[in-house]
Subunit: 335 residues, 2 copies
Amino acid sequence: MSSVSIKEVAARAGVSPGTVSNVLNRPEKVAESTRSRVEEAIRELGFVRHGSASSLRAGHSRTVGLSVIDIGNPFFTDVAAGVEEAASERGYAVILGNSSGDRLKEERNLLVFAEQRVRGVLITPAGGSLAKLDQLRERGINVVLVDHPAERADQCSVAVNDITGGFLAVSHLLAAGADRIAYVTGPLTIRQCSDRLTGAERALAAAGRDPGQTLEEVAMNAMNARSGQQAAEKLVAEGRLPDAVFCANDLLALGMLRGLLHAGVRVPRDVLLIGYDDIDFASASAVSLSSIRQPTHRLGRVATELLLDECDNPESHAHQQVMFQPELIVRESTR
Amino acid sequence: MSSVSIKEVAARAGVSPGTVSNVLNRPEKVAESTRSRVEEAIRELGFVRHGSASSLRAGHSRTVGLSVIDIGNPFFTDVAAGVEEAASERGYAVILGNSSGDRLKEERNLLVFAEQRVRGVLITPAGGSLAKLDQLRERGINVVLVDHPAERADQCSVAVNDITGGFLAVSHLLAAGADRIAYVTGPLTIRQCSDRLTGAERALAAAGRDPGQTLEEVAMNAMNARSGQQAAEKLVAEGRLPDAVFCANDLLALGMLRGLLHAGVRVPRDVLLIGYDDIDFASASAVSLSSIRQPTHRLGRVATELLLDECDNPESHAHQQVMFQPELIVRESTR
DNA sequence: GATATGGAGCAAAACGTTTTACTTAAAAGC
DNA sequence: GCTTTTAAGTAAAACGTTTTGCTCCATATC
């Protein structure tokens, strides 16, 4: 209950509170002998700095906010792990918010971040809440977009080229002999989904195919395994199975795979299947899943490093829009 | 940059700062007309409460700390999702720490939580850092153990009976005809691992088998898919394949499955396989995986509810040690 | 020997809330 | 018609840090 304060430490070490603060924040400013005396007092009393008081006075906290679309999706989990790792290395705490793709929930997360006066925000934007983000910036809270390229040059972002990803996936399906391809996706208002579609269409164009003839879009509400299975059931029920399916993420693909196999459709013999993200489980599925790999963990790490660099070196910081390239991973499901 | 404070709101609404605070925290204490005036001023100025100042003065924050062993494991992710959901419903923010099973890292997390003066801590304890937890309690920070039954009555905990789980798994393997069983596990210092072993041994005893003859322990350092695959390779290389494998979690089991299939071992024909946790991906694997299901999401929810009840109603709060029961899920890998 | 130059530490004023004790005015009690 | 109670709001003192001058003292400079 009794929290020991900097004053008590000061009293014990026979110095002023200011000196203790200096030991904590600019150790080089205080003489060797007093420093060790203070450090000993800190140890003896079990003092731990009051973060709230500190950030109240200093004007900023040592926390960052992380808002992700779906913490249940291994893709985002990997990103979060990268963020947590990089943040904790620098002594920052991570406040986690899960938006579940819900714009309201996302705004609530941002409000919480604002109340906590986080040093910065990392966000995989769900809706079009980019206006809210500008409000945060006005409040002096830096923002780095994760898995979403910034369209303006005055902000940092870290993303993976989804157009390339879609291109790789569909080019591969075409090369494997696909003629009629279904693109199973979440809402096309999600940038990732529409970019991957764009890439898919470019692949068709590059191969001289007519998108209208070759590609069918199947948009689901959610991007989880359940939706994937529903999509499979729908395709099967309507009796118009394509000969290849490109899913906008691996969760959809795993559900699709389950649904297809359940209906007696053989993969890859009857239908080729490729997912996106290359989550760990893609290679362990019933038929190991071809996919598009993204550097997820790095995504989180790099985003965090950019954010903290912007916070700690505001004047020397150069905004960057980092764009990673995805990679095609071929496994059984398209062989 | 310019953060608007309660004073400016007060000035605009023509009241004192104290009244604004009352509107924020005990709206019933202030007259209807002034209240709406203040609320309007808040809206117009875009005021958002300074969490640090608030918790400095109030003596407690609206955050909880969550320290998990492995955020990459869907089991913990589900727990975390439950925590986040319950916390955010009550207006609490979640500070996430990933201990990676590392005791040092866990202690660092607890230090961060202490600095942030979180209202309470939810923790899936990695090592034996229970002493550190008592230190937190002395500081007035409530602690709820997650996936770990408290051995004392003066604290809350939420867990799933792992002995029962181990019993269910091995009873099932025996009923399916297993004679020689390998238990592939993480370090037995992890309570979950040793409890599941205990349950396994009881199942053997109940079936009249000699544990020494029937059960072989294979302890790995980590509990991920990679370790599972290594365990498979080891069993295969040493030429002493059992006829059934019980893995202490699904990640190990998925790796084991991959390793076995890769070596040409058929599942379930040559080797029966059962995992633990019933993560989403267990049913989508090459051979769908039998497993022991735990109410993960609820685990997180209930833990959070207990914690916040303890925080908000300290006097009426009754400590509880909640123990859920696991459930056997039979799929192809043991059929 | 007088004067700059720094190093080391101190005192005190913030930071933005919450809360306690107090004032005022109006309603209630008799 | 006086006192008592209640309602509504205020002023000011915290909460535990960080930071900005400032003082003091020792060393270097001329």
